[in-house]
């Protein structure tokens, strides 16, 4: 038997068992401490990674914001482009209509000019005949 701290007595086997148990506990405590340290290490590592991820997120958010701005500017330009294209189409249409009108007017002017000259020639013939008749000259 072995003496315990309070003058109690315990069997050797049980003492051995207890010592063994204590050794195991100490070993386990040591392991747990080590594990805790490892966890702390890992935790610090994760925290660092989290910090990095957070930084990266901030960076991405910043990039996203910039990209959104670029997109908005691009959309605005696209809208402007569409307006310009529409105006171009309208202008082309107006030009076509104007050219068609111009062609029709030029053809009509040709006819009018020709007619005026024909009438002028006919009128002169009549006037000359009349003048000749008045003078008694042979027509």
């Amino acid at each position: 038997m072995k003496q315990t701290g309070t003058f109690g007595f315990v069997r050797v086997a049980r003492y051995t068992e207890a010592v063994e148990y204590q050794k195991k506990a100490e070993s386990r405590a040591l392991r747990l401490e080590q594990q805790l340290e490892t966890s702390r290490e890992q935790s610090r590592g994760w925290k660092a990674k989290a910090d990095q991820a957070h930084e990266a997120l901030k960076q991405v958010q910043k990039t996203a914001a910039e990209t959104r701005q670029k997109l908005e500017r691009a959309e605005a330009r696209a809208a402007d482009l569409q307006v310009l294209q529409q105006r171009l189409a309208e202008s082309e249409r107006a030009l076509t209509v104007a050219r068609e009108q111009l062609m029709a007017i030029e053809v009509k002017l040709d006819i009018l000019e020709g007619a005026a000259n024909v009438l002028d020639a006919r009128t002169r013939t009549v006037l000359m005949r009349r003048t000749a008749t008045e003078r008694g000259a042979p027509v």
Partner: protein, 319 residues
């Protein structure tokens, strides 16, 4: 009337070469519209009102009957109005033609379940034809259609769908919007016959102008509680019209315009008398297609009827 058609198309004109080759343009459009309606199985009649015919010339109604003898007496009915009615009814000597009183003559005598008041040079679009073919028009609804104006000086020797629907030929679209759907309304006003009679046709109270009388009808219809809708199809017209071509000439002197003063208050409406559309005029058949309305003072209402000028806000009902 068991053989009454589904649709009456009312137009007016005379043999005066209005706008150049009036008869040619009229006949081409009528031939086209008739062919499309017939192909779609829409039973219809044309009612032509010849107002103030020109002395010494054939009645346009006679030429029309000759050209469209295939339509039969039930497909084409013409009413030639004694020119004395124009003088008796006129409140503006510059108005050469009372277009809407003429149309009233036709509307009053229409037999169709639905009456379409339009003009002689209007082509009906596909959307309109198919809508009519459905035979699902509603009573109490005034149907309107936007007018597409094709370029004025195009070749019209052969006008068909390929020409009408090619947007390269279109100069402008006269868009229509609620609630009144005015804007070239005289070219397409479709309403059931009973409602036409309730409204008593176009304004015969204000006879000093013919401009905006069509829009005024839209206001009247709205004020009377009718529903106004876009029928969902379009009509086509070659050119932007004589009014558009000449309106600039009278900008500084609107009172001298041949269509009346453009500034009149066309948002003020009317109650026509019961004898609207020359309802009391005697009728003399001239031939199978044509009836002459000889002049009688009895058929001419009072020169002035101020009580018949009414505000649109009030529900008119059957006045």
């Amino acid at each position: 009337m068991n053989d009454a058609p589904y649709l009456t198309i009312v137009v007016t004109g005379r043999n005066d070469d209005f706008g150049g080759d009036f008869n040619g343009r009229f006949f081409r459009a009528l031939r086209f519209n008739h062919a499309q309606l017939a192909a779609a199985g829409v039973s219809h009649e044309f009612v032509f009102a010849e107002w103030r015919p020109i002395d010494g010339r054939h009645y346009l109604a006679t030429l029309l009957a000759r050209e469209f003898s295939d339509l039969g007496a039930s497909g084409l009915r013409s009413f030639v109005v004694d020119p004395l009615y124009h003088d008796a009814l006129s409140l503006n000597p510059r108005l050469a033609y009372q277009e809407f009183i003429a149309k009233n003559v036709g509307i009053r005598r229409a037999r169709g379940a639905f009456v379409l008041s339009t003009n002689t040079d209007i082509y009906f679009g596909r959307g309109i034809i198919s809508r009519l073919a459905e035979r699902a028009l509603e009573r109490g609804v005034l149907y309107r259609a936007a007018r597409h104006d094709l370029k004025a000086t195009i070749d019209t020797t052969r006008t068909d769908w390929d020409v009408l629907e090619d947007e390269r030929n279109c100069e402008i679209v006269n868009a229509i919007r609620p609630p009144y759907f005015t804007n070239a309304s005289g070219d397409f006003l479709l309403l059931d016959r009973e409602s036409c009679h309730e409204l008593r046709g176009f304004n015969e109270v204000y006879r000093s102008a013919k401009i905006h009388i069509d829009g005024n009808f839209c206001m009247k219809a709205y004020a009377c509680g009718l529903t106004l809708v876009d029928i969902g199809g379009v009509v086509y017209h070659v050119g932007r019209g004589t009014l558009h071509a000449q309106v600039g000439l009278y900008r500084g002197r609107p009172g001298e315009a041949p269509w009346g003063d453009i500034r009149w208050r066309s948002d003020v409406v009317y109650n026509n008398p019961p004898e609207w559309g020359l309802g009391l005029a005697p009728e003399l058949p001239l031939d199978a297609h044509t009836t002459f309305l000889p002049f009688e003072w009895n058929a001419v209402g009072p020169m002035v009827a101020l009580k018949r000028v009414v505000l649109p806000a009030v529900q008119q009902g059957m006045g």
